[in-house]
Amino acid sequence: MNKKYIKYQIKQWLPLIGIISGILIITLIIDLIFSKNPMNYHYYEASKSNVSYQNPLIITSCCILCLTFFVPLFVFSYKYSIKKADTYVQSPFKNNNLKITNFILGYLCLALPFIVIFLIGLLSTYITQLINNPYHVIVVPQNPGMTYYSHITFYYNYGYLILFMFFILFMLFIEYSLNSFAANFANNTIDALIYISLFFIFRMLILYAIPQYFMQNLDIIEYDFNIFNLSLTIMPVISFALTVFNSLISRGYFDAKDVFISDLYKYQYVGYVISFTFIIMIGIFAALYIFFIKDKYKENYGRKRNNTIFDYLLPHLTMMFIAFSLYTITRYDTTSKIVIFLAFFVMYYCLLASLNKSFKIKKYDLIFGGAISLVNFCLFIASITIEHLYL
């Protein structure tokens, strides 16, 4: 490792670290406003066996995971301009060391502000709980005739909160590696954004499909695939974290044994656990790829990519994603089906225009786009018809 370079790069990325810290401070304030609320009482019906508890720093934790989308753009920026590539690539680094150094520094840019702000948040929550009030859960009667009320007071388990922080740091590394893996293949910033988004969509489709498969097969919850369900970036991660940690975080040290872990095997969480394992595995693969595989075709750095089959695949995948997200609307409505077909084509045109950086699209591309839209539409209609008839 080149110490002088590390020092220089940290100096260069100080504004980036500042922005990350600023965003985290805002989310921390939001988190603290919620946990400091004197009306911090949560009501549950007595019939509910599971009471969910609020993690005091969940927004900050989710936010840092979302920021992994943008940091790889800075990490690999030396590839995204011809001038920069000429300067950086010729510099005397051994093998892959430039990429590895930038990758590690990028992770530190995310992790260090997070650790500091998380610990500040933890301290602040601790002081608040000492002075003000703990987290209250009031279990209200199920039947109006009953008069039984139960008032449970919880103090956060700070040991588990620190464990939660380490868990988020680990997941931060996984998410950051996955997004960096996608950005590593790009030669300019626009391509990098497209690759990261595409890899995210692809990942989400797989990761969401796994829990859905288990839900469907266990016959517990009705199969429903909707875009709004996919709103969280790292849904399996968050779900897993919320499921396992929230119960631990909110309990006292002595009754921590009574947790939800047993429930994991009963419900749809089996799917989440599998997707969680899957995301960790591909995340580790992504990190290993960045560490050990040397870049080829360095002459393409900073240049516009030639249109490849990938460019046709991108609109195709994106359209499929949007079509399936509109699944519930389209199921019975003919007008929606026509709109979906037109939307396919418009989507295709917009994505191709942004890839080519021009609104003038070749005739061949338009014909090809029309054909792809039609195939997409047929696949989509076929899939919903089969599902409607047989599932």
């Binding site: 080149n2 002088k4 370079y5 020092k7 220089y8 260069q12 301009s81 001038k83 920069k84 590539a85 000429d86 300067t87 690539v89 010729q90 510099s91 005397p92 680094f93 051994k94 080829k296 360095k298 002459e299 030639n306």
Partner: protein, 312 residues
């Protein structure tokens, strides 16, 4: 010592470097060729910015991608990168991360060239930026320095000063400097050896002595009435390159200044051009005149271009 063996590089569908062989020792080299000849690509290959498709690059008998070799070679591109809002001080700091920079010498150059150290580089003129980067390149202690179109936009006073510094640093020691340019005048009184490339292939390499016997330049005055008779009594006669080509002469250039023609032909050991012209065209004046070094280089490029268009 730089050895380039059978080097080939394709960029998209164009062959930028085509089976190039080079052998470079110490001294100041001028790498010349027309636009798109492959000069910058060659530099990028030498400095490991690009990887070759075929062939080998050995620097001091080691592959050019080794860290030890890379830290001993610096390539200054024609439009170098600098971070936003950076000053000369920041730029020096950046290069100090990778190379050994002689700061005293650098400050001396900045002072001599009147370059403000704490002013943002974005506010510099094109020439000032060039001066700043050349100063930096000269202050970096490397054995091999590659400058790509380094003198574009520099005023003559600063250029003279920079040339003097280059000669001080790079002649008569074990260092190598290669300056790529399509403008041969800018390399005047600087390079002792030249490499001429065209369409990614090497056309010629050597010093003034080895290149001076390639072409001959004649000053000719014709008596047109004699000429008409000697060329099968044609009513209309024009003196052009074809006339000389018919006489089996390899014409590289033919210019007319007043009534005087300046003819440059490539030397062919089997024929005596002086005798051929005298016998066939009976000129009033036929005199060999010396070629300058710059003219020889230009003629090499011109000849290579003509060869290239013939093959196409």
């Amino acid at each position: 010592m730089i050895e380039v063996i059978n080097l080939t590089k394709k960029l998209d569908k164009t062959i930028a470097i085509n089976h190039l062989n080079l052998f470079i020792t110490n001294g100041i080299y001028g790498l010349v060729g027309q636009n798109g000849a492959g000069k910058s690509t060659l530099f990028r290959l030498l400095s490991d910015v690009y990887s070759q498709d075929e062939g080998e690059i050995l620097i001091d008998s080691k592959p050019n991608y080794e860290k030890e070799i890379k830290s001993n070679l610096f390539f200054l591109q024609d439009d170098p990168y600098y971070a936003n809002f950076s000053t000369l001080k920041n730029l020096t700091e950046f290069y100090k991360c990778f190379y050994e920079v002689d700061e005293n010498y650098l400050n001396y150059l900045f002072k001599t060239l009147n370059l403000p150290i704490n002013k943002q580089l974005s506010s510099f003129s094109k020439g000032m930026k060039r001066q700043a980067f050349i100063s930096l390149a000269l202050s970096i202690n490397v054995k091999y320095l590659l400058l790509d179109e380094a003198f574009d936009g520099i005023d003559p006073l600063a250029l003279d000063l920079i040339k003097q510094e280059i000669i001080k640093k790079y002649s008569n020691n074990d260092k190598t400097l290669i300056i790529a340019s399509h403008n041969i005048e800018s390399l005047e009184k600087l390079c002792d050896k030249f490499i001429i490339i065209s369409n990614g292939k090497m056309v010629a390499q050597g010093d003034e002595a080895s290149m001076s016997h390639v072409f001959i330049k004649y000053q000719i005055i014709f008596n047109l009435s004699n000429l008409k008779l000697s060329t099968s009594n044609k009513l209309y006669f024009e003196i052009n390159e074809d006339l000389f080509k018919k006489l089996d002469l390899h014409v590289v250039s033919l210019n007319k200044i007043g009534s005087v023609y300046e003819l440059v032909i490539k030397v062919n050991k089997d024929i005596n051009p002086y005798e051929i012209i005298k016998d066939n065209l009976d000129p009033v004046l036929l005199e060999e005149i010396p070629l300058t070094y710059n003219e020889i280089i230009t003629l090499q490029m011109l000849d290579a271009k003509m060869d290239g268009s013939k093959h196409e």
